[in-house]
Symmetry: C2
Subunit: 307 residues, 2 copies
């Protein structure tokens, strides 16, 4: 149905090259990664996490990050970021020409220790070091991912007070950063997603927010829409629902980008994505050996999924 | 998080014994059907479609409807209904002691012809005959399912004007019926679900509404929640996501009841369902030979899915 005023558009951040590729035990050939990333860009993805600057011992899947980074350095038309768990990673990101950095800290101490081998306080110190080191960097964009903002594989439900406390501490360090509430395990439910975003957004109305979700419990699409209802305009997904989190036992892949595109675009919320092209890339991803994929749209006869 | 005032509860209508069982090519043993239905009642289901009074030639899976009906006749504590496509089916329902009748008519002419071998006008005549024949029947409850209220496997998007027109025509015949917008193919998107319910509810504020959805495009849970946001308090699902529609090519099963329960109950919206018991029945359904199942919650480690 037509509407007099179109609803605000949404920007889907593609994280398959980071959250997805790291979930495949046997590292992919660099050329294959590059081909997938190029396909995603061609499908109209305007923001993407290319990978992460992490210890290749901890995550060998990201050992070729420098090559990937070099290939896409200076790419025009899309915002390409890299995830870092510490100041050293941020230094590498800048060295490789990536002033768009995603820093991750989990609200849950247990998960942060497991994920990045640091206490939350130590992670916040790393964030402080990053902010200090990047001060004055032209074009710098910083995102802070608040991992386990809903549920933690080790402690269960994460108290909202803890989310608010870690958010405020990080905001005090990086007041101009974009923030994300991350449903690391995929156990968040839609109403709680909306409620928690409403709380943090009321707490800091000037902050830009994103939502990162997984589809483990089948809530991925609904959680993204409820984040949107709260006012979030940046939503993360992974084509073909590739992924999981090696440090979040039981979590399945990110919500499939093509499912998110369907949910938003069919409802009249612009995503800018070419769904036919996206589905073609998603099929390529689904064919990668060792990858666990999900999502629903790929299983639908293609003309119906695209039209 | 706690809230001062609990949101309105939702009633999930279980349709696996009707929409689900009819999707299994080889008819199930009656005793197995009865055991599943009893398990669903024990899990706290308060409304259920037991099956349909249809031609056993057209749908042999429902040939034992009289036995099922006799077994549960007079069951206390839950509202048990039967689906009928015509006045003859309604007569059988009443004869077998079921004054709760679900009458189905599709908004799309093409689908109605394919599904019940009648034009929409002929189906409305059947509805008129049912209303006349049941006038004065004690405890009578009539539901009108508006099939293909969003998308039709034969014509694609169903115009909202058609939905409004068929609804008004049916309402004029059965003004005290409960109505359902049915996403027969599972292609509806959440925002359109909310919009279409808002339109029909504004058109007739006194009418009670239900939503019937499938998860074909992965929108099932989100569609149900957006129906709820529009004010719908009756949502249909099938345990284990069993089903499909033999007359809606490409449609997969109904949205899984256990996924719906998770989405609502975790968000603080009461369903009255015992999730551990429901999941046990869903597992039993998933083990039925020839059944196609879906949903996400069964794949999650059980303690996490229940807690």
């Amino acid at each position: 149905m037509s509407e007099a005023v179109a609803p605000p558009s949404v920007e889907i951040v593609e994280v398959a090259p980071r959250d997805g590729f790291q979930s495949i035990a046997e590292p992919l050939p660099t050329a294959e990664k590059i081909a997938v990333i190029e396909g995603l860009l061609d499908a109209g993805i305007t923001r993407m996490e290319l990978g992460s600057f992490v210890s290749p011992k901890a995550i060998p899947q990201m050992a070729d990050m420098a090559e990937i980074a070099a290939h896409f350095r200076g790419h025009a038309g899309a915002r390409l970021s890299v995830l870092v768990p510490n100041a050293k990673g941020a230094e590498l990101a800048l060295q490789h020409g990536y002033p768009e950095i995603v820093f991750v800290v989990s609200v849950s101490e247990a998960h942060n220790l497991n994920n990045v081998r640091q206490t939350v306080a130590q992670s916040l110190d790393q964030l402080r070091a990053i902010v200090a080191a990047t001060a004055g960097t032209e074009g710098l964009r910083l995102r802070v991912d608040l991992g386990t903002s809903f549920d933690c594989p080790f402690i269960g439900t994460v108290p909202m007070d803890d989310v608010a406390r870690v958010f405020r501490a990080a905001l005090a360090i990086a007041p101009s950063a974009e923030f994300a509430l991350c449903d690391t395990t995929g156990r968040a439910d839609p109403l709680t997603v909306r409620k928690r975003f409403a709380a943090v957004m009321a707490d800091s109305p000037e902050t830009s927010w994103a939502f990162h979700g997984h589809d483990t419990f089948g809530m991925g699409v609904a959680n993204a829409l409820y984040a949107y209802e709260a006012g979030v305009r940046v939503i993360e997904g992974a084509a073909a629902g590739l992924g999981g989190c090696p440090f979040a036992p039981g979590a399945t892949g990110n919500t499939a980008t093509e499912d998110l595109d369907f949910a938003f675009a069919e409802g009249g919320i612009r995503t800018g994505i070419d769904r036919a092209k996206l589905l073609a890339v998603a099929d390529r991803i689904a064919a990668l050996p060792g990858g666990k994929t999900g999502g629903h749209l790929r299983a639908v006869p293609r003309p119906r999924a695209v039209a």
